[in-house]
Amino acid sequence: MMQTTDIERAANESTANAGNLREQWESEATTSHLVTGELDLSHNVILYLDDITVSFDGFRALNKLSLAIDAGELRCIIGPNGAGKTTMMDVITGKTRPDEGKAFFGQTIDLTRMTEPQIAHAGIGRKFQKPTIFEKHTAFENLELAMKADKRVRRSLFASLFDDERDRISDVLKQIRLDKEADRSAGLLSHGQKQWLEIGMLLMQEPRLLLLDEPVAGMTDDETERTAELFVSLAGKHSLMVVEHDMAFVEALGGKVTVLCEGSVLAEGDLATVQADPRVIEVYLGR
């Protein structure tokens, strides 16, 4: 119940923002006409992949993959190495074009026809496995740069932070537990803190859907636990898709789990059910 109202509110906010965003992107992008419109969550589905096939020199990295993520959902994707998890994220973010199939963000936004930055502006944030942050900038500046704003040159020349923007950055710094490190160079942070900073940058972009590729790789147990808490708290307002090999972490997240194997969905359900599935056991033990 609670969750639905949250989502509705979020959906309304997005309608208000979409006009702005579109206007901004249209003057910036090289292929502006492709932004299809605001995010339509009328069927409560935020991401919809249908029969996606991607081949690399005849090898099918994704093979008729179909998957749907509900608005506000926290979904885990697991699967053996080479199952196509990263490739799937590449398709969603516009890095790889599928040979066949459809990829929709909400009901109307066709991801297969947009560029990477357009997709970012539309509301999909992605965290890569290797943390990529701006090492020479402070943690605060990293968040400032990622902040949803007019990102054209002429604005950046005269931009200065509004009070509410400053507050927003402080809020996110607290959320990712870097408020004490705000003025340190990001390059001096620990590996786990860098991962968190990158998650914070995603939050500053105010995406509707977060794609997180192995977010706890290299984190201590303690950090992993706190990351799980953070993600659980984000679900509802945001939708999350988390790829992870760490089963304890997946368990802590507690959401629905999708098992990918050889480029298509092998099983789907809660973790216990999936782990009991004989096909899944075979895939994991067979290796």
Partner: protein, 399 residues
């Protein structure tokens, strides 16, 4: 509440930086001109015409170094073709200087001597308007700006980066040099422009004119430093350094690096053009050798020696290398290229952050309370930033 623009402009430089700039301005606008114009030649403090021109020339080089640092140090794009933009600005203003000769040339014609020599009967179309001072100033900015914009647009759009970009900028300046060597191009072939007589009707060799050009060069440097300081401390500057450090990430958070690179690249070329326009009347000649690939490489060496990524570094580097150069060319000219090469290797191997980096390291070692070294070092650095040209003037006077 947002901080107003003027406040941000003032805050972009620490107070010590502004004080240093003011001192520098006082020295270059009052002290040095007075030492040349007022003091008798017998006075030990008198500055000769040679010294004034040498210092003025170095001030122009410092402007180029700042422009180079904006693009290389902050945006991470190494240009080995900035000599071209400098020369284009010089040629644009040189056309005006040629027209100001009037009928005082050796052929007594309205046309510049080299055109008479080529048996041309009238000015080529692109010399139109060259008798206007304002047009010449405009052209000195617009010409390098347009060339840089067009070149940059295609290079950055094709995502040409790193050493490939550097190589094509070298090729660009080399090609331009070959073009300007040809007599038919209409810029005096390999002799270029020289024998200037007047600016705005006033004699170019008069002490007043010499001092005016010198003071203008100093003013341009001050303006560049203020502008540069503002840019690198603005959000624009932070995006630039972000592009330098992780370009794909910048795209991913929604910035278009093409626009950012193109802006700073074009601005950098325009500043070089202005410096070139002030340089030519002070040295009295412009020819295609200014576009030689070696010249552009030398610009990069100045910035590397001073320390890239700090504006003070660029200014220092240009000062140090050029004073060394004027010393060498007087005493042992044949060793200069070896010294330059040695300097570049030594800096690359032992001083990756140049003189400024060395200074910071020494300071960090000295002060035990130097936890926030980098911050204070930056502050200190900008403190020296502007006293440096003043120091170099003192050294220059001795040279």
């Amino acid at each position: 509440m947002r901080t107003p623009f003027t406040v941000r402009l003032i805050q972009s430089m620490p107070r010590s930086g502004w004080i240093a700039l003011a001192i520098f301005a006082a020295i270059t606008w009052i002290g040095i001109p007075a030492a040349h114009l007022m003091l008798p030649e017998s006075s030990p403090l008198h500055l000769s015409a040679y010294t004034i021109s040498l210092l003025g020339k170095i001030l122009c080089y410092m402007v180029v170094a700042v422009a180079m640092d904006l693009i290389w140090g902050y945006a991470g794009i190494l240009s080995l073709g900035h000599g071209l933009f400098f020369a284009l600005g010089g040629y644009a203003f040189g056309m005006y200087l040629m027209r100001q000769i009037g009928r005082d040339g050796s052929y007594g014609s309205d046309l510049p001597d080299f055109m008479v020599f080529l048996d041309w009967k009238e000015l080529p179309w692109y010399w139109a308007g060259s008798d206007s001072f304002l047009w010449a100033i405009f052209l000195a900015m617009a010409l390098p700006g347009v060339v840089a914009f067009i070149f940059g647009y295609f290079a950055f759009r094709s995502r040409i980066k790193g050493v490939y970009f550097s190589i094509i900028t070298q090729a660009l300046t080399y090609a331009a040099m070959l073009l300007f060597f040809r007599n038919e191009t209409g810029f005096g072939g390999n002799n270029g422009f020289t024998d200037f007589k007047r600016i705005l009707g006033y004699s170019i060799t008069s002490p007043e004119m010499r001092v005016t050009l010198f003071a203008l060069s100093a003013a341009l440097l001050v303006a560049c430093l203020i502008l540069g300081r503002y840019l690198v401390s603005s959000r624009f500057g932070r995006v630039l350094t972000a592009i330098r450090d992780a370009e794909s990430r910048v795209m991913f958070i929604g910035y278009n690096p093409l626009h950012y690179k193109l802006f700073i690249w074009t601005l950098s070329a325009v500043l070089c053009g202005l410096a070139g326009a002030l340089y030519v009347p002070q040295v009295g000649i412009i020819n295609p050798s200014e576009m030689s690939p070696a010249n552009s490489i030398e610009l990069a060496v100045w910035v590397a020696v001073g320390g890239r990524g700090t504006l003070i570094g660029a200014v220092l580097g240009a000062g140090i290398v050029n004073l060394a150069k004027s010393y060498f060319t007087v005493t042992v000219p044949e060793y200069w290229p070896f010294f330059l090469g040695f300097l570049f290797i030594a800096v690359t191997l032992y001083l990756p952050d140049g003189v400024v980096g060395l200074w910071r390291k020494l300071r960090a070692r000295k002060g035990p309370d130097s936890a926030g070294v980098s911050e204070t070092a930056v502050r200190k650095a900008s403190e020296t930033e502007n006293t440096t040209p003043a120091n170099s003037s003192a050294n220059g006077a001795r040279a």
